[in-house]
């Protein structure tokens, strides 16, 4: 299967083409095709996974694309265990979302188009995962960006939605600038962009360290954009304007994780370049902390989850930054499942409650048993409670950081773990427990249809057990499958496990006290720490900062340049034109009065003389005769005198 792994990606593309060209009017068929395609991809990925388990590879395939002297860009596939895992993640989450959307998008006027976009996204994401060179990655990187744009702005009649789409596209594009520049630097230095060849050259020390650092950081810029890392994280919360299944698929589980995937792909650079590694680690750490802090106080259920995503992505990036290849990718996988579950659960809630505001919810557990139960499982998992998936992956991250000796980062990671637990349970308690704060919402709430709850159950199952493959005691667990260079098999560190669990439990306890028992009044807390509260409630004022600086500058600059264009360049052109006109008028004057004057003068003189002279021409023969004789007389006089 690995040999034909491109089929995995092309099935959804086929589905996209079919839907767009043939079934855009037939919703049932369209969704059927899309689901069939993605499930088939899942099955094929599963086969590929088993093949990879047998032979880790990497398996490399190349298809000629552009070959010109000095530039060779093949379409290549690089199939290693990470690819296999990513394929699984993408196809599983995508399948769940496809099925879930049957219920969620039911009755939408652009139902088949939604499935078309989902298929296109799945294709792009699978392509991204399969790609065997930075160049091909970049291609699919842009394509997932496009589908993200299209899906965020799916309900484009809402101004906020179309704004959010645009913001997402442009913000990630800024990161892509770095990615592109990194590709250029890397290509310039290495002469190839294929993973295998680049890795090989790095191993052989053929590329100077400084260039590697530059290339690494530049490529990581792409990840900053795509994975919504500080300082380009601002687009992700806004992206929640898209349909919730989209948020689950693209903006929680897969596309945003592509940045992490890319960072994992530059692990070779990270291990050689300390600067690059630390840049990555600290950006991850800052992001994790910042996003978690913002998540503490948000009231929009999807925004809380969005900040949670940003925070968790920061976690993964931080792990990769400290060379925790296994840890980062492991957390990527577990996070994909429970975060997708959280989003789908939130979608289910929104579907039922028709609101995003958790302050208006409450007590929904009674109305929505499956949703609330799965949601709790996912929350426990993300908080890192033994023995759920999140616990294992988070523990792996702690272990990696600890192993590399970055104690400050470790402390931060633990703190963020506590904060995560707090805001997740704040969300759970406010949504599902207690009294209904908005009776109207409560009254209309109902459990979602089966198409929506089955994926929830399936994902809940994964949220519990998917992490078990990474138990430190397993001899042939995750760490011996996905690893960098050689299996990194750390022994179980019970101290870190306990510390992590304590952090999570204390977060949950605090949330319990504040939002379930109401022992501590959150409003009072907010009032007491007013400046901090306002600061984090307003998301650290990043949007305002960017609006006030970059955007404002761009707008100002474009106006200035346009004015310059009209006022200076075009003015000059017109001036030249006008000067020409003026000149021609001057010369015209000269021409009329001097040159033409001379010509006309000559003519005039001639006329004047002639006018005199022609009077001689009387026409009377005798006058002529007279003159003749006069002439004779004169001649004689002349001769004789």
């Amino acid at each position: 299967m690995i040999k034909y792994s491109y089929i995995i990606a092309f099935l959804p593309l086929l589905s996209y083409v079919l839907i767009v060209f043939f079934f855009s009017k037939r919703e049932k068929t369209a969704s059927g095709i899309a689901i069939t395609a993605v499930v088939s991809s899942f099955v094929l990925s599963l086969i590929a996974l088993f093949e990879t388990l047998a032979d880790h590879g990497p398996h490399i395939f190349e298809y000629e694309w552009i070959v010109i002297p000095g530039l060779k860009l093949p379409l290549s596939i690089f199939f290693d265990p990470l690819t296999a895992v990513m394929l699984m993640v993408v196809t599983i989450v995508s399948s769940c979302v496809h099925i879930y959307s049957l219920g969620y998008m039911h009755g939408d006027p652009r139902f088949s188009r939604f499935y078309a976009y989902l298929s296109l996204f799945t294709f792009s994401m699978l392509g991204l995962v399969l790609s065997g060179s930075f160049f091909v990655t970049f291609i699919f990187w842009e394509l997932v960006g496009l589908t993200s744009y299209l899906l965020i702005g799916f309900w484009f009649e809402k101004k906020v939605a179309s704004d959010a789409g645009k913001k997402a596209f442009i913000t990630t594009k800024i990161g892509d600038l770095g990615f592109l520049a990194g590709l250029l630097v890397l290509y310039w230095a290495a002469g190839t962009l294929n993973y295998s060849e680049v890795y090989h050259q790095i191993e052989e020390n053929q590329i100077p360290a400084i260039i590697l650092t530059a290339a690494g950081i530049l490529i990581f810029c792409g990840a900053i954009g795509k994975s919504a890392q500080f300082p380009l994280h601002v687009w992700l919360p806004d992206a929640m304007e898209g349909p919730t299944p989209v948020s689950a698929l693209i903006h929680a589980a897969t596309m945003v994780a592509a940045g992490v995937y890319l960072t994992a792909r530059i692990m070779s650079i990270i291990v050689v370049s300390h600067t690059a590694a630390m840049t990555i680690a600290y950006i991850g750490a800052i992001t994790a902390f910042m996003a978690a802090s913002i998540g503490l106080v948000q009231n929009d259920i999807k925004r809380v989850l969005a900040y949670s995503t940003v925070s968790q992505l920061g976690y993964m990036i931080m792990a990769l930054g400290v060379s925790g290849y296994t840890a980062g990718t492991f957390h990527l996988m577990t996070h994909a499942f429970f975060k997708a579950l959280l989003f789908l659960g939130a979608g289910s809630v929104i579907h039922a409650a028709h609101t995003n505001d958790i302050q208006q919810m409450g007590g929904l557990a009674k109305k929505m048993p499956i949703t609330s139960k799965t949601f709790f499982i996912a929350s426990l998992s993300i908080a890192g409670i033994f023995p759920l998936s999140g616990f294992w992956s988070k523990d792996e991250i702690f272990a990696s950081i600890y192993h590399e000796g970055h104690y400050f980062l470790l402390a931060l990671a633990v703190l963020v773990a506590g904060m995560t637990a707090f805001y997740m349970f704040r969300l759970c308690f406010l949504t599902f427990t207690g009294e209904a704060r908005d009776y109207h919402v409560y009254e209309h709430a109902h459990e979602s249809p089966k198409t929506m709850t089955y994926p929830l159950i399936f994902l809940a199952f994964l949220s519990i057990f998917a992490g078990w493959v990474g138990m430190p005691w397993l001899e042939h667990g995750y760490s011996s499958f996905v690893y960098f260079e050689h299996p990194h098999h750390a022994a179980a560190n019970y101290v870190l496990m306990i510390v992590g669990t304590i952090a999570a439990l204390s977060g949950i306890f605090l949330a319990y006290q504040m939002y379930y028992k109401r022992a501590i009044d959150p409003v009072k807390m907010g009032a007491r720490f007013k400046p901090v509260y306002t600061f984090i409630y307003n998301k650290w004022y990043f949007d305002e900062l960017y609006m006030g600086t970059v955007i404002k500058f761009a707008y100002w600059f474009m106006e200035v340049l346009y004015r310059f264009d009209q006022g200076v360049i075009d003015w000059f052109v017109n001036f030249v034109g006008r000067f020409g006109m003026f000149n021609s008028r001057v010369w015209q004057t000269f021409d009329v009065y001097v040159v033409d004057g001379a010509v006309n003068g000559a003519g005039f003189m001639t006329r004047w003389f002639a006018g005199g002279l022609r009077k001689i021409q009387t026409g009377a023969v005798q006058n002529y005769a007279f003159v003749i004789f006069l002439g004779v007389v004169l001649l004689m006089l002349f001769k004789m005198i």
């Binding site: 009377a620 005798q622 006058n623 007279f626 004789f629 004779v632 007389v633 004689m636 006089l637 004789m640």
Partner: protein, 161 residues
């Protein structure tokens, strides 16, 4: 005697010529022209040119003047004596002929002609005939042609078409 005849003839010629150019009635002018031609013919005789005198009378008086009189008759309704017969330049014309005459007279008197004396009067008809048919035969024939052309031309011009 000879001198007397000359002066009488000269007087007749000049008087009649002046009347030709100055008479109001063109018909009278034509008559005066005949007189003038006769006088000139007389003058030819004094110059021993008997044949030419005859020709003068025959052609000028007999043909040309009669032709002129015919023309005058044809155009008679326009040649009434009431009209001014002289144009606006008699005074300049007079001045110029006076000056011209003075100059001619000066030229004539100043020039020393080599006069070869007088020959006795003798008939010239035979001599002229011989000359015309021998030495001057070509000009003679050309002139006859010119006459012919002039005749035809006159007919063509005057023809009413």
């Amino acid at each position: 005697m000879e001198t007397g005849i000359f002066y009488i003839l000269a007087a007749i010629i000049l008087t009649s010529a002046l009347m030709v150019v100055s008479l109001r009635n063109i018909f009278h002018s034509a008559l005066m022209l005949i007189l003038c031609f006769f006088a000139v013919a007389g003058l030819y005789i004094t110059l021993d040119a008997d044949f030419l005198a005859a020709v003068q009378v025959l052609i000028y008086v007999g043909a040309v003047t009669i032709l002129m009189i015919f023309a005058v008759m044809v155009t008679h309704q326009l040649t009434g004596t009431t009209m001014r017969q002289v144009n606006e330049q008699p005074i300049p014309a007079a001045l110029i002929i006076i000056v011209l005459f003075i100059l001619l007279a000066i030229a004539i008197t100043q020039t020393g002609f080599e006069v070869i004396g007088k020959f006795p009067l003798m008939p010239t008809v035979a001599a002229i005939g011989t000359a015309l048919m021998t030495v001057y035969v070509l000009p003679f024939e050309i002139v006859s042609l010119v006459l012919l052309v002039a005749l035809i031309g006159a007919i063509i011009i005057a023809r009413r078409d």
